[in-house]
């Protein structure tokens, strides 16, 4: 058993819910966005526009909530532990990850054979996740620049002028959607390629036994099979 135990402490229920909202909103936004770009399902067009705007607000507010919650909710700083710290600390550089930027890349590219001992989020993983709220906020802004009821507000009109008009803004909004799509490809791939235990935990809050890691001594200290051996 190579991986660390997947405990609920890594993803408290509140973040399981925000993750669900993100997933649903992103998929709806992508599908309706394509419909708005070109009406290949003609009769869905009006509904698509309404849903697009609604879920745009949903994902933005969800993002704001998630950022605020990071300062109040406790999560595990690493895999394989039930110990918790305030969530925002797991988004800052952690001792468990120090000097590991390049090592993670090497691991991904098969240049390093064994799995790095790290925090809950590996270095490239954490950096890319940190871009997501930034992307969501910028995406929301570009969306508001294109939405007729808000496009003439000075805050949004200034941005439209800056990028060279509504067509440029549309193209930026469109390209950014592909950044989300590409992120989702990579994210889904990496989250599942070594087994679907992380997905079961993230979506269904289902725990999975594995190695136990101590975030204080930054090392693996044992194994927890969640009581499987005692049951049998």
């Amino acid at each position: 058993m190579a991986h660390l135990a997947h405990y609920r402490e890594a993803h408290p229920l509140v973040f399981v819910i925000t993750h669900w909202i993100n997933l649903i909103a992103m998929i709806v936004l992508i599908v309706t966005g394509f419909c708005i770009h070109f009406p290949f399902w003609p009769y869905f067009e009006s509904l698509a526009r309404g849903m697009h705007v609604f879920f745009g607000f949903v994902i933005f507010l969800n993002c704001v909530f998630r950022i605020i919650a990071a300062f109040f909710v406790k999560t595990a700083p690493t895999g394989g532990t039930r110990k918790q710290v305030t969530d925002y600390k797991t988004w800052l550089p952690q001792k468990d990850n120090r000097h590991q930027g390049l090592i993670w890349i090497k691991y991904y590219l098969f240049l390093k054979k064994d799995h790095p001992l790290g925090a809950k989020l590996g270095v490239p993983q954490k950096i890319s996740y940190l871009f997501i709220p930034v992307l969501i906020i910028v995406m929301f802004y570009t969306g508001m620049c294109l939405w007729v009821p808000t496009m003439n507000l000075p805050f949004f009109a200034a941005g439209t002028n800056l990028v060279g008009g509504l067509m440029s803004m549309r193209i930026i909004h469109y390209f950014m959607m592909y950044i989300f799509i590409i992120f989702m490809f990579i994210h889904v791939y990496l989250a599942n390629i070594e087994g679907i235990a992380p997905t079961k935990l993230m979506f269904f809050w289902k725990e999975h036994g594995g190695l136990v890691y101590d975030p204080d001594t930054h090392t693996i200290v044992g194994e927890d099979d969640l009581g499987e051996s005692e049951k049998h």
Binding site: P39, S46, V73, Y174, F185, G222
Partner: protein, 441 residues
Amino acid sequence: MVNEATASEFSGMLEARGVTRRSFMKLCGTIAVAAGLSELAAPRVASALENSVIGATKGNLYPVIWIEGASCTGCTESFAQVETPDPAEVVLELLSLNYSETLSAAAGWSMEEAKEQTIESGNYVLVYEGAVLEGWGGQALRVADKPGTEHLIEAAKNAKTVVALGSCAVNGGWMGAHPNSSDALGVEQFLKKSGIEVPVVNIPGCPANPEWLVSVLVDVIMLDSKQLKLTSDNKPEGIFGQTIHDNCERRGHFENGEFVYKFGSEEEAKGYCLYPLGCRGPQTKSTCGITMWNNRRSWCVQAGSPCIGCCEANPNDPGDNWVEVNTPFYKRHRDLRIGDWMVQPGTIALTLTGLVAAALVVHGFGMKATGRMDGGADFETIRKWDKDHPENSIGTYDLTDEEKAQACKENSGNLTQKERLYDTIGVRPDMKKNDTEGGQE
């Protein structure tokens, strides 16, 4: 006391030109609405026009200078095509068009003299049609022994207001499109660069609608010019404040999801929405669908053509000219330019996404080959960094078995159901307090 209806002097003038009072009042209403006023302001507009016209007989007309820059004269043409006799023409005939390269009967030296005199006496409106060309020292528009740029500076200095007529005058238009070898730009930007402070009103369009010009002239000259509400880029808000899509006669079909995907199709015959054919209505701001063209006979979308966005013009950015921004017209996006290569944004995006997807598939085979798909590779027993720098080691690797067991217990928690419930809100009682309770599920 007047006890019988008498025709005013002005009515007589209208009648002599074959214009009914009713059609004149209709024009006044349109102008009022275009100026951002309520239609109820029509009598005020009428009275302003009337006074001005009566003034005309006394020689008090506002002079207008109409200069052509780098233009196709399309805006003048559009303007001159107004049918006679027509209320719009009445109004404009009654302005004193002191200088117009196309419309004035005079030419040469006497024309230039008339212009100089008008400039000297001041308080006139300058209508500038076409782009300003800074290239070649302004020599491309050399007239009467002076570069075109100098003519504009001279005429703008003393003007009450400058009207930049047509998209070329607003930001270079066609002239500003790639590669813009003549360094074309709009009037407002050029005057700002030349340090001339004069109010500029931008009326984009290719060509600009003559009725928009009438509306602006009436606002500037005859009504209190404060009535003319402008957008942040100095376009009349009543005309350029909303998108064409907002007021489109085919909007109902858009909402119903009834679209034209191909010219010559049944859908086209039914007059469905032209959005899939690249209509720029949703991103182009103007009242084309309300003002319409050629005496309100028709307009592009009514005639079956998707909007090509000819009113798109950012006065401070010749790069944001409507040609560059909207071509190819029938595609939903503009083309992007990479060197000499023109490419649709969708092609770039799909290619990139395809490459990433392919890379992930290849990587997946790598994962399979290295046996990482079942839980990943085994963990390193000691961090690479710690191995190389034992003096700065991050991890502690020399724990005794007891210490390990204790740490394992602390970290694995072994919680009761109740305690798990606390986790739902991310807060739970101190771990150490519970770690001896055991109670695995």
